[in-house]
């Protein structure tokens, strides 16, 4: 993506100077010009009020794909830890890199995150590109996009993976648009085509009714967001180490459009999140009223599981929306999903249909949930659920 400054439009206002993280713009005879520090990260484009900074997307046929090598994973961190999805992707990225015979690198941008770099090595990373700056302490679109777009332009990886999380989706699409890359959302399967070396990206569409395989033939890198909990984490090898490549950036707080004013954790939000849980126990309208979610919570507690819910129960106000699983709720793929009193409408199935093991408890033998359940119990949940809780307590020695 070549970027240039239209000297006729430049009024010499210097706004772009403070937007540039690399000190790559000089004033020459009253006009802005790029110097050798420019990494083409694009951070300056939006700072110009006069449309004088112009980015030209390279025509896809003109991209020299042979220049692009290596597999990258963009790290997501939470409260000083690497997100599980990042480790899943490093593990998966290792396999892809081995198949291609190339290196695997993780990009770690943040503040005081260096201790996390070697963890990526344990899961298979050869290299870690590390960018530390105070303005990167919390994820924000602007600075993360410029920093990572610059690294991609400089080192030219052929594949870039990131979790299909709130952050991953926000960031990946902004980067892809900036560098003119192809991006496939929410993948559940990745493979290398041995003949073409292309990344085959498989993902659900139409609420899970359809699967599609997508490739990106010309543009580079091939970018994908990948659904959490789909790829398997490798056994960490604590003896492995990665080479750390540090980039220095000079980001300026005042040039960043968004300020985070407040982070609010809702009451009860310290509960296990459905997207992070290995086991989910979900309740539907069959519970009849809010108080009966207690049955679900008791079973969940025994299993160390998260509590899920159908939209009908959320709409009825029985449980907060962040528990909702489904097309308008969260997409989950736990090891075990226990659906209690949930009919199994397509919109609900869209969110949980690919769970490894599904157990359904419903008193209607024709409920569609039985169509996806591995184990179905036709019965009254008010009898079955407490009995199951009791039996599990006994089995797990929790009595």
């Amino acid at each position: 993506m070549p970027i240039y400054i239209d000297a006729d439009k430049c009024v010499g206002c210097k706004l772009c100077l403070s937007a540039c993280p690399y000190g790559a713009i000089d004033m020459v005879e009253g006009k802005a010009v790029f110097n050798d520090n420019c990494t083409q990260c694009g951070a300056c484009i939006s700072s110009c009020k006069f449309g004088a900074i112009i980015a030209e997307i390279t025509r896809k046929e003109n991209v020299d794909t042979s220049q692009y090598k290596g597999v990258w994973v963009l790290a997501e961190t939470h409260d000083g830890r690497l997100a599980d999805v990042t480790l899943e992707l490093v593990s998966e990225g290792r396999k892809l890199a081995d198949e291609l015979g190339v290196e695997l690198a993780m990009v770690l941008a943040g503040w005081q995150v260096e201790p996390l770099a070697q963890i990526a090595a344990h899961y298979g990373a050869d290299k870690v590109y590390l960018v530390e700056h105070e303005t990167l302490e919390h994820y924000r679109t602007d600075p993360f996009t410029s920093v990572i777009a610059a690294l991609i332009n400089q080192y030219k990886p052929e594949i870039v993976l990131i979790g299909a999380t709130v952050m991953g989706r926000d960031l990946a699409s902004r980067i892809a648009a900036r560098i003119g890359a192809g991006l496939t959302a929410d993948c559940t399967g990745l493979a290398i085509d041995p003949e073409t070396r292309l990344l085959m990206q498989t993902r659900p569409a139409f609420g899970g009714n359809v699967m599609a395989t997508i490739v990106c033939r010309h543009a580079r890198p091939q970018m994908a967001t990948v659904r959490p909990r789909v790829m398997k984490k490798a056994e960490p090898d604590l003896s492995r180490t990665a080479e750390i490549i540090r980039s220095h950036v000079d980001l300026k707080e005042q040039a960043i459009a968004a300020k985070i004013l407040e982070i609010i954790r809702e009451e009860g939000r310290d509960e296990l999140d459905v997207q992070e849980a290995e086991i989910i126990v979900s309740g539907g309208r069959g519970l009849r009223k809010a108080e009966n979610f207690a049955l679900i919570r008791e079973l969940a507690e025994v299993l160390g599981a998260a509590v899920g819910a159908s939209r009908a129960t959320v709409d009825a106000g029985w449980i907060p929306a962040y528990h909702q699983v489904g097309q308008t709720g969260k997409t989950v793929q736990p090891k075990l999903y226990i659906a209690c009193g949930i009919s199994g409408a397509v919109q609900h199935l869209a969110g949980m249909g690919s769970s490894d093991c599904i157990v359904a408890i419903n008193n209607d033998p024709d409920a569609p949930i039985f169509g996806v359940a591995h184990y179905g119990i036709v019965g009254d949940l008010f009898e079955v659920v407490p009995a199951l809780t009791k039996a599990l307590k006994k089995e797990l020695g929790l009595e």
């Binding site: 939006s46 926000d170 659900p204 899970g208 599609a212 999140d273 929306a321 869209a350 169509g371 119990i377």
Partner: protein, 260 residues
């Protein structure tokens, strides 16, 4: 305030199926609707205009029949609608779509806020909003559940997976909204009548001065190579009999399979 809402017409997903013989999408006879999250986007725009004055313009890129989605948006109370439609746009992926929408918005002129849905029901990508913001060079705030505008600034509450985040950003900016933000209104009789009379201009690639190499299939780096029906496992097992027996058996199976 000058607000632009970008909406998409999508097939009602509950009815989309794969033809098992040809392995292609069966879309015939499937009703089309406004993408549900985009109804929240329209509602958000209407409420802001009720509070601060101004107007709501809805735009969509799609085939001629996407006009119906715009009519429905006008019937909800939007002021203007524009259909962006051209054969050159066929086969657009999210990059080409966001480029095309950006060109459309540039032609529309000054604006304060662009609102998109969180994601579209057919593709579920959530990529067009941020892509559009990038092409326009404006800040984006995704997953908004609340927005307050004051002067040239917006304060937006975002719904993250385990928390809320409140951010302040300058206008113009682009937000994408989640369904929990509001309850979209129904069309009023008055607005339905108005919508019926309202003319909806169609803009072509030439009208928005689009570079055709960046539109449609040409401008789309990604290609779908295969669509297929998801693999559903073979018929599951039914556990029947006395409750205590059934539960014992289930616990045994789950233990054996090491899921608990």
């Amino acid at each position: 305030m000058n607000i632009i809402v970008s909406i998409k017409q999508v097939p009602d997903t509950t009815e989309v199926r794969i033809d098992p013989v040809t392995n292609t999408l069966v879309r015939e006879g499937v009703p089309s609707i406004i993408n549900p999250f985009d109804e929240n986007a329209i509602e958000c725009g209407l409420q802001l205009v009720e509070k601060h004055g101004g107007k709501v313009t809805v735009i969509t890129m799609g085939p001629p029949q996407a006009q119906q989605a715009l009519k429905d948006a006008l019937a909800m109370g939007a002021d203007e609608a524009i259909l962006v439609s051209d054969r050159a746009f066929a086969g657009s992926d999210t990059l080409a779509t966001s480029y095309t929408l950006a060109q459309t918005i540039k032609k529309l002129g000054e604006y304060d806020l662009i609102i998109c849905g969180k994601q579209a029901f057919d593709g579920d990508t959530a990529q067009v909003g941020p892509g559009l913001a990038e092409h326009l060079g404006i800040p984006q705030v995704t997953y908004a559940i609340d927005i307050e505008v004051e002067g040239k600034k917006a304060r937006v509450k975002r719904l993250l997976s385990d928390r809320f985040e409140v951010v302040e950003t300058r206008l113009p900016c682009l937000i994408t909204v989640v369904k929990q933000m509001n309850e979209p209104r129904h069309a009023s009789l008055k607005n339905v009548m108005k919508a019926r009379k309202k003319e909806i201009p169609t803009w072509t690639a030439a009208d928005i001065e689009a570079d055709e190499s960046r539109c449609g299939l040409n401008g789309s780096p990604t290609n779908v190579v295969k669509v297929f029906a998801p693999q559903r496992h073979t018929q599951g097992e039914r556990l029947e009999g006395d409750v205590n027996d059934v539960v014992e058996r289930l616990v045994k199976i789950l233990r054996e399979k090491q899921v608990v």
